[in-house]
Symmetry: C2
Subunit: 209 residues, 2 copies
DNA sequence: GGTAAAGTGTAACACTTGTTACGAGGGCGT
DNA sequence: ACGCCCTCGTAACAAGTGTTACACTTTACC
């Protein structure tokens, strides 16, 4: 299918190679916004490819607190790190943020496909590595920095903040706390409040010289 | 070499197969306790195998605060997640905690070796996945739990705590804070203080029914 | 246009953790 | 036995964040 060719994993593959992969067990599932794609604790037996839409991954705590880890847009491989793990239960909850499509491809078939197509293997290893690096950064962020720095990092990555509540959730922080820090950063001249073209208020980092 | 056969990565390999791998560029380096193995920011161009000894990985923050991420005993693959990454700079500092030995094996040679020996590929994917899972747990620990729960988790994993300072460092927490929490947990009956056979004091989790 | 809902800023207070300081106990060499 | 050094417990205070509450604005919808 054309959908699969949008993945970096397969962008070096010919149509014939993809046809070969699709001769093994697979399915294509459509979801609507809000659907739960995988529940935390589910074992991962198939390669999951988000071909359309945006998902949100959450990690739930025992005490009811939940932290949004990240949002991912298609095309993306979902949970690549648990496909071949010894303990292959997925520790996060994945739900659709928009309507979307997910492909499920048999694990062993994909494994064999990789052994026969080194460029796919390499791309998969890169995907896996990128996730590890992402998590490393996450750990560093949580372990090393105060909220002020976390907020500044977040603004620099996203350019602006237009929705305080949502941002607070993404950062795993209470909303009033974020409000307070934003006010402080504004007082310190590190962040400014601007009006976007659509007349929406936003926070933006002040350009430092 | 016999050292390599201790690795889960290679324990399904015959001597001939290992000989084949060792025909490509590689080296074996010996370190003494305290040596720096990789500095944060170094690009990763070789497969690194810790064949003897124990290492400590640290992640440094900009503000000088440092958090010990983990200790690893041989045999272990060091930084497997950065070998094939697009950005293959290693974000952590690795230093020897004891004397030790590290093998360096050419990346491309190892890649080809994996494509020709699927059982090695599978083992490597498992290694990579295990690290991802470890980091996931780390994130969850930092994001979701208070110090009390982090300490309880740590005790359950390690059975006992015999060195408060060291444990505090591993948890990324100030020593007096850990002391205080231990005292609280003790008061709540969740942790008890015992005497080991060698007359050393230790903290241990109370068995819950 | 009016009303309800959602998003936002702000303040007061509680809770957790870091910081600093001090004293008690144990190992070890002289 | 003495002193030194290290680890540990404890206390008082500071700093950061969560919680709750309330008023204000904007948005959505009828």
């Amino acid at each position: 299918m054309e959908e699969l060719k949008t993945f970096p994993l397969f962008n070096t593959c010919t149509d014939e190679e993809l046809q070969e992969l699709l001769q093994s067990p697979h399915r294509r599932e459509e979801y609507v916004a809000g659907d739960l794609v995988v529940n935390a604790g589910t074992p991962c037996r198939s390669l999951m490819l988000l071909a359309q839409g945006t998902v949100e991954t959450r990690m739930g705590g025992a005490n009811g607190r939940e932290v949004v880890i990240e949002q991912m847009r298609s095309p993306t491989v979902l949970a690549p790190a648990f496909l071949f793990a010894e303990d292959n239960t997925i520790p996060v909850e994945v739900s659709m943020r928009t309507d979307g499509v997910v492909w499920y491809i048999n694990r062993e078939a994909f494994f064999n496909f990789m052994t026969q197509h080194p460029h796919v293997l390499r791309a998969f290893l890169q995907t896996l590595s990128a996730r590890s690096r992402f998590l490393s950064g996450k750990v560093k962020g949580f372990a090393v920095k105060g909220l002020r720095d976390r907020v500044l990092d977040h603004i620099r990555k996203h350019d602006t903040i237009t929705n305080v509540s949502e941002t607070a959730e993404q950062l795993g922080v209470a909303r009033p706390s974020l409000s307070r820090v934003l006010a402080e950063l504004q007082a310190d001249g590190l962040v400014e409040r601007i009006n976007l073209s659509n007349n929406v208020k936003a926070y933006r980092a002040v350009i430092q010289k």
